[in-house]
Symmetry: C2
Subunit: 330 residues, 2 copies
């Protein structure tokens, strides 16, 4: 028998069909700084940065963890790419950067062009929403590494910031206030634990006090804080932003707190959202563990001078973002 790439589980035609499906999604995100078409070995992006005195590139790479397993179980593939882009956008926006471009990697057990297109459409949607160009990607078919229905994805974002406007927490001092902004769910963290403790509940059922089915609740798209961050940094002197991902409120905020300082969090300052209550009670999980694994309702923190707090809360409210004073630097 004559062996082929196809007989070993890799379909070149599925790959080509996928590329043709995703080209238009990617192109829809291009602006005049994108200097190449899809298909060359590299993607070209203009780096003149004419409006910058001293431009600095800010980049970040991430995945979505086992939130993927929920998307796969729900057979819903158009939002997970948005999760990833928004996660990456937040990671560079908290440094003061504007997103420029994004590149994705998606690896499948079996490459199904329609499913791949759904995923990549998600990247494109979120890229457009965040004013970011989807300039490159790699779609791989890896039989034997992934189960046939499984896939993994990762993404890298590159943005730019004026050097003197980098937000890095260096000016944070004792007495500064932590303003927390609401998350809309788990975002992309803690899914391995959540899935384990909720495994007895049908993803299509609606738990008590929930507005959505458990599956839809768990798939809520990781919120982009770009507009909020832009509004705050343009109107106030924000000393530091913290994006609350794995490691929780304290673990992430300590990344920007100067050595010698610490955090005092008022853990009763806001109400635990229903999804986190359900996770906590289902798994009999300690407060300490909940706080280090999940965002428990707070997706972004701004560290600010205490005299700015009131004005910041008012501005946030005008953007429909609820800010809550959740602690201080000690």
């Amino acid at each position: 028998m004559s062996e082929t790439y196809l007989s070993s589980g890799v379909s070149i035609s599925a790959g080509e069909e996928t590329v043709s499906k995703i080209k238009s999604f990617a192109k829809s995100t291009f602006n005049s700084n994108v200097l190449s078409d899809i298909g060359l070995f590299g993607a070209f992006y203009d780096a003149s940065f004419k409006n910058f005195k001293h431009p600095v590139l800010v980049s970040s790479v991430d995945g979505v963890g086992t939130k993927l397993k929920v998307a796969i179980a729900m057979d819903k593939h158009d939002t997970i790419g948005q999760d990833l882009v928004n996660h990456c956008v937040n990671d560079i926006a908290v440094c003061g950067a504007e997103p420029l471009f994004f590149l994705d990697y998606v690896a499948f057990g079996k490459l199904i062009p329609d499913k791949a297109a759904k995923i990549i459409e998600g990247f494109a949607i979120a890229c457009k929403n965040n004013n970011c160009s989807l300039i490159g990607g790699e779609t791989a078919e890896m039989p034997g590494l992934y189960e046939e229905n499984d896939y993994d994805l990762s993404g890298t974002i590159v943005g730019v910031v004026e050097k003197e406007k980098i937000i890095n927490g260096k000016e944070i001092k004792r007495g500064d206030v932590l303003i927390g902004f609401q998350s809309n769910g788990l975002h992309t963290n803690g899914y391995s634990l959540a899935r384990k403790v909720l495994s007895n509940i049908d993803l299509h059922s609606t738990p008590q006090n929930f507005e959505l089915t458990l599956g839809d609740e768990l798939l809520k798209i990781h919120k982009s804080y770009l507009s909020l961050i832009n509004a705050l940094k343009n109107n106030f002197s924000i000393k530091g932003f913290s994006h609350i991902t794995g490691g929780g409120i304290v673990g992430n905020t300590l990344r920007i707190i100067p050595k010698g300082l610490s955090l005092k969090i008022d853990w009763n300052g806001w109400q635990l959202p229903e999804i986190f209550k359900l996770i906590k009670t289902s798994g009999n999980i300690s407060d300490e563990e909940m706080r280090s694994v999940f965002n428990i309702g707070i997706g972004l923190i701004a560290v600010v001078d205490k005299n700015e707090v009131e004005n910041i809360l008012r501005t946030s409210e005008s953007l429909n973002e609820k800010g809550i004073v959740i602690g201080e630097v000690v």
Copy 2:
């Protein structure tokens, strides 16, 4: 029973141990353009580009396919990261770009800090060899998506090129010559097919005419052509470079050939290396399939004016790179 992240299969302490192990590897690749330490939300890279009139960023993302399965079977994890970096470096070098920085993503079934450190040491080694900074990465533990011993990795590279020095094949015309440069093995393509047809052969045995065991032969590190490309582009007018990956010699080179032109390859112009002979005979694979799946001995192609061929071959030889005329543009 009280559930924790650890009981769901994710170890925060393994994650922290891994980060501390890899910090020094990453730092060893930093230059004065890297403006941040590991641990912030984003990685900072100076984008002044003072020596450029009109800088253009060139980026690319890739994985290593199921070459990973060979690395896992051989329990050898310090080279697969080098494969990935060199693959990415080649993809932007063929566009004329110099590498600036690289970000990696590694996802494990079970995160073992020593294994993760080996992999990431590989990234750092290749980054240093290619004058590139390893400025960011994400290490994920995803029980249930990957088998305990399995992992996947992807990487994104960003480089820079002077706009007027972009190499994109636009000036290629009929009669131009294709010079092929040797690969040192499969590089990172075709492993699903190779593994299938070679599955009866012990990876630790040495097949006839081989200098290495099959496993070591299959794990040979994807060659970086950066030095060769730099020497050629600085001394000659190279119209196009093609990095031979999935799609083979024709599929990849057509990416840079202007519409209306085609390629005539002298398939007997070089000898098929032993590893490809073994794959071909083991799987009774057609010539056509071999040519579209594998590099079959040619890892890089330069498309040049026919009057430059002799000088280019001489220069290449002085760099210990053997160039062979393998075809022409028709």
